[in-house]
């Protein structure tokens, strides 16, 4: 058993739902008890989808267990076919039904429905959401594309509609976007446009927006673009083996990565990338060079996210913002290798965990000046008084903005520049704040950090009102958002390794308070570390400045 309070990923059937809900003309029948239908609200409330997910639950109860739950599944599947007339059916179990061993796949086959039935075997007690999405997409692709696969030993048939010299464009598929994906909707639009500029046509985007009939013709394209390896990697591998379609390995998040992606795609498609690479397509390079960005130099950044976004963020942070990566990790164990390799490149210890308390401890320990993470890390950062930008799922209603806001391609780099820089103070603002901090008009905390700026590590949360009024379902703007009382305060990791014997002389304490608040925590920690390492127990003004001289700013 594993003790969890919050989790980064849901169970694998939620991953399957993300694929089913992304598609048209598909229905998912899931053998599940009452309560598992909670997952519907993720789509209708968090993503604000206007349609219910195409998912039906058998809703078996205790009294059914003694009788025939298999029959319950069959009648549910039959009803779904009659009511929704899908082109294909996904069938599977949730964690509880898995224990009943009813075999939804076999039961559905026995119904002889005139449509393809794709059985899902998602081991709930071993696997999680992203794996479930990848496996579901893979199974769909395998079942629906297999009838069109060339026979073993035979070559793929030549493209039907003529050759490139006759004006036929190279064609690719975009693989990986799902429902409830972090900015997937806008990424697809951005990359489709980018490929269009290269003269490449997108044949099928899947699963998002595709029908089973679309999936069946995936094999017709020249190559595949893997947007999200977490969901599409497995399917792309199978398509390569079966149809000989190569696939892209660069994920176009960030300026450098987008350029690398263009080169890779151009090579696969046999087109010239130069016109696209020569133009100035993003504001990021200039904005990063503008003097106002000088303050970004060497800012210490902690990154934790799904693997794709985490690795991309580390590169952007280092090469395109001039930050220093002080932490890099992921909750996606399936991609631990990729993240470990990246961590090695940036000289940090990789953090592979799905225990958010461990992440919190590591963030506190690393003293970053910016956290790039998920909504979980946003809360961790809030508690620690550190600015944060969200770069990955698990998603929140905020991650589905009304405006166009991709992460990929050149527009994605513009969005990322703004998103990451906003929580920080701008260069001139930072400068003025230091100059005028004694002014009585001036409050110490810049307004955009709000009341969240607590002294780092002393982040004790006041007990919430014991009122019953608590939770809203999705948003953290409802009263529930107030942190639930945590009287023990045990969440906050130990303040610092400094022994309790360390004492600040009153003048030193006073001097410390003359230091701007946003570096004060760091100054305090550095000084205490300096004192502890030298066995100094009384911190004086001199100790403070000695430490400053030792560590630098």
């Amino acid at each position: 058993m594993q003790l969890t309070v919050w989790t980064y990923e849901g169970p694998p059937q939620v991953g399957a739902m993300r694929v089913a809900t992304a598609m048209e003309g598909l229905h998912y029948v899931i053998h599940a008890p009452q309560g598992d239908s909670y997952a519907d609200l993720l789509f209708t409330m968090i993503e604000r989808r206007a349609k219910r997910p195409p998912v039906s639950y058998t809703t078996f109860q205790a009294r059914d267990l003694g009788t025939d739950t298999a029959e319950l599944f069959q009648s549910a599947a039959r009803d779904v076919y009659e009511r929704f007339q899908p082109q294909a059916l996904l069938v599977g179990s949730s964690c509880t039904a898995e224990l009943l061993q009813d075999d939804p796949g076999g039961l559905a086959k026995a119904l002889n429905l005139p449509i393809p039935v794709v059985p899902l075997d998602l081991p709930s007690y071993q696997r999680k959401e992203n794996w479930g999405a990848a496996e579901t997409f893979y199974q769909l692709v395998r079942v629906l594309c297999s009838p069109h696969a060339p026979k073993p030993g035979e070559a793929r048939p030549a493209r039907a509609a003529g050759t490139e010299s006759e004006g036929v464009k190279p064609r690719c598929n975009l693989l990986g976007p799902t429902a409830l994906g972090f900015r997937h909707r806008d990424d697809v639009a951005e990359i489709t446009k980018l490929l269009g500029e290269l003269g490449i046509e997108v044949a099928v985007t899947a699963p998002l927006g595709a029908s089973p009939a679309d999936i069946a013709r995936l094999g017709e394209a020249d190559f595949n673009v893997v947007l999200y390896p977490e969901t599409a990697g497995q399917a792309a591998g199978w398509l390569k083996r079966t149809f000989g379609q190569p696939f892209t390995t660069v994920v176009p998040i960030g300026y450098g990565a987008t350029r690398d992606f263009i080169k890779e795609v151009a090579q696969l498609a046999g087109v010239d990338p130069a016109p696209l690479l020569d133009g100035v397509r993003s504001r990021l390079p200039w904005y990063s060079r503008s003097v106002d960005s000088t303050y970004l130099t060497g800012k210490r950044v902690f990154i934790f996210a799904d693997a794709t976004h985490a690795v991309a963020a580390a590169r952007i942070a280092t090469e395109e913002f001039g930050f220093q990566v002080v932490g890099l990790g992921t909750y996606a164990r399936e991609f631990a290798r990729e993240v470990r390799e990246a961590a090695k490149r940036y000289g940090v210890e990789p953090l592979i965990t799905d225990d958010y308390l461990e992440v919190e401890a590591k963030v506190a320990e690393a003293h970053p000046e910016l956290v790039l993470g998920t909504q979980m890390e946003r809360h961790i950062a809030k508690r620690l008084g550190v600015p944060c930008a969200v770069i990955s799922a698990p998603v929140h209603v905020q991650d589905f903005p009304a405006r166009y806001s991709p992460q990929m391609g050149f527009e994605g780099t513009n969005v990322i520049f703004d998103t990451w820089v906003h929580p920080l103070m701008m260069g001139l603002e930072e400068h003025l704040l230091t100059m005028f901090r004694k002014d009585s008009e001036f409050h110490e905390a810049p307004s955009h950090l709000g009341a969240a700026v607590a002294p780092p590590l002393a982040a004790e949360v006041p007990p919430a009102a014991p009122d019953r009024a608590a939770p809203g379902a999705v948003s953290d703007t409802v009263p529930s958002a107030q942190p639930a009382a945590s009287p023990s305060g045990s969440v906050a990791p130990p303040a610092s390794p400094a022994p309790a014997a360390l004492i600040w002389a009153p003048e030193a304490e006073k001097e410390l308070h003359k230091i701007p608040f946003f570096v004060r925590g760091k100054a305090r920690r550095n000084t205490e570390r300096y004192a502890a390492e030298r066995g100094v127990s009384l911190i004086t003004v001199d100790t403070l400045y000695d430490a400053k001289a030792h560590f630098g700013r």
Binding site: V5, Y38, D40, A50, Y125
Partner: protein
């Protein structure tokens, strides 16, 4: 109390009403009983709820509790893994290890609930025995360990609270046989509502008054033959039955929603405690008047409007009664996940004779009926609300009715406003 404006109690039937009920079996769009933890962990301030379940249970809690309420809540999940199922790990030993770790982290916990889930029930993990064992082990540290089931196989949404409270009943101290009559209000109420009722009971001269659940684990109220039980929520049937088995007497009353319901509910207690009619009138007059005034503000908006309830919390019938009688709304269909006729007898008697009641759910059929009825307002869960809005229907999230204070005189206006707001909003928008 003949002058009482509310229901003449003589007409309150004790058995079932004549209303026909449409019973349905099929897909349900209702949370399971685990979701009750979301408010119970806030209400019982030193309790911790440890779900013994799957990743789905943990994810459900996260989604139901507001995906990202942060800080460490007083609930968590012991996720059953492959090795627990394969028998390579002794589930009981695993549970002991997790509880030890938890109690080490959280020294503030006085009451620990092991909460059963669908998977723990299917694999027949005996949490009752586990709780007994752990209770014995930790009793010296002042921690009580109890268990109940919140599984979707056994419970629907608010029944989780019922199961939790019922688990407390055997541990309530016995009230002395010669103790003066006491009142026990059953069902979690917002603290502010509890305090309002407390003042009214005190003005009526009713006492002692106690509440289940109490705000602290150590304050479990006593129970005995002189305890009079007043249900504050319609879904606490098992708890009340357990209390009756310990000798307590149940008072029959409608539920305290709106001016009428609140008055009738207080009257049931006043009757049982022999409060003179004149005193009852005097004490409740101001509250009644305020509640009616507050309701009147929304009557124009709601009168004659047709409302459809999808099943969710078992609050549907009392709410429908209040909306029909005090605000003039027309009931199309009132769905409830579970209908306890005895506990709702007083409510059923007050419903219009032509109301369509449905129990259980077949969500597709019910959606068909809802679309056909084209009601002005649909009360439904979060999974259905946006899709129905997209079809042009106006909806109210049922969950808000469970999570906000809606009981009593002072909340009557707020309750009406909850239903009026979606209509006002739709009228206001020009996009």
């Amino acid at each position: 109390m003949s002058g009482l404006a509310a229901v003449p109690r003589s007409t309150v039937p004790s058995g079932c009403g004549e209303l026909a009920v449409l019973r349905e079996r099929g897909q349900r769009e209702v949370f399971c009983g685990l979701a009750g933890i979301v408010w119970l962990h806030r209400k019982i301030q030193d309790a911790f709820f440890l779900i013994v379940g799957s990743r789905t249970c943990a994810h459900l809690m996260q989604s139901a509790a507001g995906v990202m309420i942060f800080a460490e809540p007083r609930f968590g999940t012991a996720i059953i893994e492959e090795r627990d199922l394969a028998g390579t790990a002794d589930a009981n030993a695993e549970l002991d290890r997790i509880v030890a770790r938890l109690l080490e982290r959280r020294s503030d916990i006085r009451l620990l609930f092991l909460v059963g889930s669908c998977p723990s029930e299917v694999i027949k993990l005996d949490l009752n025995r586990a709780a007994e064992r752990l209770d014995h082990a930790y009793t010296g540290r002042g921690v009580r360990v109890l268990s109940y089931s919140g599984s979707g196989l056994e419970t629907t949404f608010t029944q989780g609270e019922d199961a939790c409270l019922a688990a407390l009943v055997p541990h309530m101290p016995a009230e002395a046989a010669d103790a003066p009559p006491s009142l026990l209000v059953v069902g979690a109420l917002a603290d502010v509502v509890e305090d309002q009722f407390g003042r009214l009971f005190s003005d009526l001269g009713i006492g002692p008054v106690r509440y289940l659940p109490a705000r602290h684990a150590d304050d479990l109220p006593p129970v005995g033959p002189n305890t009079r039980v007043l249900m504050a929520q319609p879904f606490v049937s098992d708890t009340v039955r357990a209390l009756e088995q310990r000798g307590a007497k149940r008072l029959v009353a409608p539920f305290p929603f709106g001016a009428e319901g609140t008055t009738a509910w207080l009257a049931a207690a006043a009757d049982a405690f022999g409060v003179p009619a004149e005193r009852f009138r005097t004490v409740t007059a101001l509250g009644q008047e305020r509640a009616k005034r507050a309701l009147a503000r929304y009557r124009g908006e709601l009168e004659g409007k047709r409302i459809f309830f999808f099943p969710d919390s078992q609050l549907e019938i009392p709410l429908a009664r209040m909306l029909a009688r005090e605000l003039g709304m027309t009931l199309t269909e009132v769905g409830t996940p579970y209908l306890h006729r005895q506990n709702l007898a007083a409510e059923l008697a007050l419903l219009p004779a032509d109301v369509v009641l449905s129990e259980g759910q077949h969500v597709e059929s019910q959606l068909d009926r809802c679309r056909a009825a084209r009601p002005d307002l649909v009360v439904c869960g979060l999974g259905l609300a946006n899709p129905l809005e997209a079809e042009g229907l106006t909806t109210k999230w049922s969950i808000e009715l469970v999570f906000s204070p809606i009981h009593g005189y002072e909340q009557a206006g707020d309750l009406a406003e909850v239903f009026a707001r979606p209509l006002l909003r739709r009228a206001r928008l020009e996009v």
